[in-house]
Amino acid sequence: MKTTFGMLGSAFLAFLMMASGAMAHHSFAMFDRTVEKVATGTVARWQFNAPHSWLYLNVKNADGSETLWSFEGSAPQALLTRGITGSTFEPGATVTLSYCPMKDGRPGGGLGWARLANGTFVNPSDGGCDGSDNAIAKWKGWMAKGYTSSADAQKGK
């Protein structure tokens, strides 16, 4: 079973390497793409800029304090074709998103999918994390069971 997941992981990495060639302007080696997590927070800024957009989100910590998290998404030229514009994430709005964390532990990551306050899911991802329809479907199931980490969800299987 471990081997199977290893092979699936390799296939996914190969896919990401090819997918990242689609719009990337830099390497995504800074993100741990073997891990996906979910966070909820309020939008500090949606920076809809080329060659990468950034979603800055204030996320509450367990002690009640807030940390500003930074999530890198794709270029506007790609996002426009997915129905995402410079107004999709308005400051102050509540957003839930998936991300692949930065390997060095800083509060940031590659952006996967995002769920808007009205419940709509969108895909602002670049090659840093998976925001595809398949990822959204997978996470809908995991979130219904209360998971916020792919590692926990896989352990819970």
Binding site: M1, T3, T4, M7, L8, S10, A11, F12, A14, F15, M17, M18, G21, A22, M23, H25, H26, S27, F28, A29, M30, A44, R45, Q47, N49, A50, P51, Y56, L68, S70, E72, A75, P76, Q77, A78, L80, T81, G83, T85, E90, P91, M102, K103, D104, R106, P107, G108
Partner: protein, 334 residues
């Protein structure tokens, strides 16, 4: 179940890792649109790009003298639609392939093998000009994603990429000029029309990395391009660029490739208009401790792309005038 999953994994690996055309289509920059791209080599081998260009000019009897009414129009937005670029340098099957022998000169082959080792072992190359905020330049311009515009006039064509910005100017019916006495990111491009084909010659380029996964190029890199709008069954319309690259320092012999663009109808429908994007005030990517990373808000050196100008004490200096958001740090010094 375990066995089934294993077969799924094997199938996925085969699908993603070993396409018969490893990089060309559909893996590379918009590939997979229309029929497979086919490289059309020049009719014979030329020693230099200038010799190649003059041969084509003579064959076209000095070229077609278009008027504003007859010059081919490639209006609207375009996006990349694949290329055969990496097929020139890497043997199948793609990212797990090896550097092709006999293409690069010994010093450039040695340097490229090291770049390819970095890509395969570390997941990235240790030098990528965009991470360092350098312009894409030519030849990278040919396969940069994002939107493009191509404006043809009888005396000049403007080939525009929505990134950098990268604007190439083709001086139709003219000779090369270099009054600056040096080379530049996009060099100097001359051209002529052969009916509906635009033939160009580019030289006086700066040395650079061809692209992130490609070999380095020298300051003797030159090219001859033939641009033509082609139509295929199924309402497929593709602007194809057949290119021969010359580089006496880097290549043992000229390298041929084809690049393509398709109409960006989805971008037009989404209301996209080409913007001027630059790196100096917005790029937070750096190469640090052996890997590419990004500076985050509040960290030293963070550039706040939507912060204020150098004169925040003046009213109206926010570069985020619609939402007026602020982030920690990112102040510029005068």
């Amino acid at each position: 179940m375990n066995r089934s999953l294993r077969w799924i994994a094997v199938a996925a690996l085969a699908l993603f890792c070993a396409p018969s055309r490893p990089f060309a289509q559909p893996g590379a920059f918009g590939g997979g649109y229309g029929p497979p791209l086919v490289v059309v080599p020049p009719p014979k081998t030329f020693a230099t790009s200038e010799e190649h260009y003059k041969f084509l000019l003579a064959a076209a009897k000095g070229g077609t003298k278009h008027t504003i009414a007859s010059v081919p129009r490639w209006d609207g937005l375009w996006v990349t639609a694949g290329n055969t670029h990496m097929d020139s340098f890497i043997d199948p099957p793609g990212f797990t392939g090896k550097v092709r022998e006999g293409v690069l000169t010994p010093p450039y082959e040695k340097a490229y093998k090291e770049r390819w080792r970095q890509q395969q072992e570390l997941g990235e190359v240790q030098y990528d000009r965009l991470t360092h905020c350098e312009p894409p330049g030519y030849p990278r311009w040919l396969l940069e994603p994002y939107s493009h515009e191509f404006v043809n006039l009888p005396q000049e064509s403007y080939l525009i990429n929505d990134f950098g910005p990268g604007i190439r100017r083709v001086y139709v019916g003219q000779e090369h000029k270099n009054v600056f006495g040096t080379h530049s990111w996009y060099g100097d491009t001359i051209g002529f029309w052969d009916a509906d084909k635009l033939v160009t010659n580019t030289k006086y380029l700066l040395p650079a990395d061809f692209t992130r996964w490609s070999p380095m190029t020298s300051n003797q890199f030159e090219s001859v391009e033939t641009w033509q709008l082609k139509k295929y069954a199924g309402d497929v319309e593709r602007l194809e660029v057949q290119v021969t690259f010359y580089d006496r320092h880097a290549f043992i012999k000229p390298v041929n490739a084809v690049y393509a663009f398709r109409r960006g109808k989805e971008l037009e429908a989404a209301g996209h208009r080409v913007q001027h994007w630059e790196c100096e005030t917005s790029n937070n990517d750096v190469f640090d401790k052996g890997t590419t990373t990004s500076r985050l808000p509040g960290e030293a050196g963070f550039k706040d792309a939507r912060g204020t100008t150098l004169f925040p004490e003046l009213p109206g200096q926010s570069r985020d005038p619609i939402y007026n958001t602020t982030l920690p740090g990112g102040k510029e010094s005068k």
